[in-house]
Symmetry: C2
């Protein structure tokens, strides 16, 4: 029972920090998620040092973000996503190409050889859907066209980022790039999403009564949670982020007759678990970056490129929504969050990045995550005056 | 994202195994918890080997049982506990003394020297409230007098077991036993429970409106969950089990005006997390014990003594409830579950137990946990024909 004491203290500290952070942020009219990430930075190893994330906290964080995207999926119908398919596709593709090209050019000009530049640029690419999804949910904006475009684009973004990372990692080893296997990976991922999404929603629409068959009175919830964990796992097997599978699971569950009950029951799960995700994300901030002027100026440039390139890609892709809508979509695609952190870790362990480059890319990922929510909230709170065509 | 894949598969496996196990058990008219433990034994390292509990799963299990006892506390009023105080106290005390004395005598007769016999006997003592609480909750029996006696006795049992373990561990080192420090430990534990329970419920009864003050619409839940984690941690600091603090937190929250809403919101949390506790408990079963005839006969004797001694202690303590009520209480106190496992681990790492003794004690703990639920369910389902006086 000795370890239990230490871990309970960590859980308590993280959870309370999240509540305090979110409350302060909301009183300042900022999204709560900003306060949770800031609270994480404050109690993390780089500042107060009260919390040192280990396996257990990381797993809780992962469950938290998986449940968050599941609940976002619960509020999303496949039909609605299809309607914005073209815009979502364009946003996804341009939102990957523009940051990747600009990132490569900057990295090369900063002295990296070409193959390393591509790796650096890969860290510019992948949008972290968790942060934007949370802001959209907090503001009750998930039913807006822009939100659907963002969510659809996030799925496409994740597929492309996965492919790109595969290519870039292969190039580091000096391997010959072969198109065949790449196309297979792409095909598998698209097929996974397509088949699960299409078949799952169809089956659920017709036969959701079996969710009530088991004796357990909460069985609809238990079954869809099992599906959520299962699809989250499967999507990692196809090289995608776990949250893509969780989002699909939520979207399938949203076709069931028990949809509203499930939405109701998911809320307490989010209240307990999502704070772990955002606080733990915050704890990964390494303030040492801000100590060296060289690193700081590199951080400013990198963050600037990351912001502008993603914003531009998203904006251009979503122009069909009008300029204001396109701006919302562009801003919504900006956060890199934990995805950037993961790619930076890969680069560090592969020996491609120095410690400083690693720290800068992690800081950039988290800065984009911190900057987005207030801007997005501001844009969404003001009444829209332009069209909402898909 | 690579580790995420492995851990998601473990989460999925544990969760689905729990659902299937519980469903099969309930179709056989057994409590669901039996199926969850059996499912754990089936998928654990000793059998199929699909799941190997590590830190992350252990923490999820801990959160699961903490939330379970929190929810049991939510359905328990301090007033009701007070009313059965005398019976609960007697059950707690006799339920510790009888198993400890019989356990010591058996261990000595089996060849252990006296100081080691006391350690073995300590593993006979501590009741695991989780399993009984789950059965009582499943059957909707938490409002019965017997249930209140069991819950009150579990708190007293935990205090005494903690003291006893402290004494026994000290004796292994050949230390002189000093009464002063022991009384301080006892005093602190009693004071912790008394002050938190008394003050907490009083404050909550008068001022539960502040739970709605924060902006977060789910803040009553978030605040009481923070209290639950905090008190669970604090109770480990006083040498008590985490679930005692969680139970207190639930009891305090049950005095709030938001009580029904909190009960509602806790259910999805239990649906997600308690299966981890019971399945992980099941994975600790080591079937190797059943391979050696010597170990098997030792297991039979140890389990027999553990069952009868606890039953007798509980029965004698609760005679004021009539014979049937006393029987229910006695049976409800039988499970050792994870507490026996923890003490056995202590004994193993302290070099007091051999591997075989360790395996036997773990198996005994889990057998008592498996045997209790069906018997308890049988006793509770038949209509009571005797009095319910406290």
């Amino acid at each position: 029972m000795h370890d239990a004491s230490a871990i309970l203290l960590q859980l308590f500290t993280v959870f309370v920090a999240a509540q305090i952070g979110a409350e302060i942020a909301q009183r300042l009219r900022l999204p709560g998620v900003v306060g949770e990430i800031a609270a994480g930075a404050a109690i993390g190893p780089a500042a107060l040092g009260w919390v040192h994330p280990g396996e257990a906290l990381d797993v809780l964080a992962e469950i938290g973000v998986v449940l968050l995207l599941f609940s976002v999926g619960l509020e999303t119908r496949l039909e609605d996503l299809k309607r914005v398919g073209r815009s979502a596709f364009l946003v996804g593709v341009l939102g990957v190409i523009v940051p990747f090209v600009l990132g490569t050019l900057w990295a090369h000009s900063a002295g990296f050889p070409w193959h390393k530049s591509l790796f650096v640029a890969a860290a510019f690419v992948a949008t972290s859907a968790g942060i934007t999804a949370r802001v959209l949910q907090e503001l009750g904006a998930l039913q807006r066209t822009e939100s659907r475009v963002i969510l659809g684009a996030a799925v496409i973004d994740d597929i492309l980022a996965m492919l790109l990372l595969g290519v870039v990692v292969a190039l580091q080893g000096g391997e010959q790039l072969r198109l065949g296997p790449l196309l297979v990976v792409l095909g598998e991922a698209v097929a996974f999403i397509g088949v699960i999404g299409w078949l799952g929603t169809r089956v659920m629409r017709r036969r959701s009564d079996w969710l009530d068959k088991p004796i357990n009175p909460l069985s609809p919830l238990s079954i869809v949670l099992a599906m959520c964990l299962g699809l989250a796992f499967l999507s990692t097997r196809f090289g995608l982020a776990a949250i893509i599978g969780a989002f699909l699971a939520g979207m399938i569950a949203s076709e069931s007759g028990q949809r509203h009950q499930l939405e109701q029951q998911t809320r307490p799960l989010l209240a307990l678990l999502t704070p772990f995700f955002f606080v733990i994300t915050g704890t990964k901030v390494d303030v040492s970056v801000f100590a060296s002027p060289a690193a700081l100026s590199m951080l400013a440039i990198v963050t600037g490129i990351a912001l502008i390139s993603k914003l531009a890609g998203g904006f251009l892709g979503a122009l069909a929504l009008g300029r204001r809508g396109a701006l919302i979509v562009g801003v919504g695609m900006v956060p890199r969050g934990e995805v950037g952190v993961v790619i930076a870790s890969l680069g560090l362990s592969a020996g491609v990045f120095s410690d400083q480059t690693y720290a800068v890319i992690v800081a950039m990922s988290l800065l984009t995550a911190m900057v987005t929510p207030p801007v997005l909230a501001l844009l969404l709170r003001r009444p829209t005056d332009e069209g909402v065509a898909g």
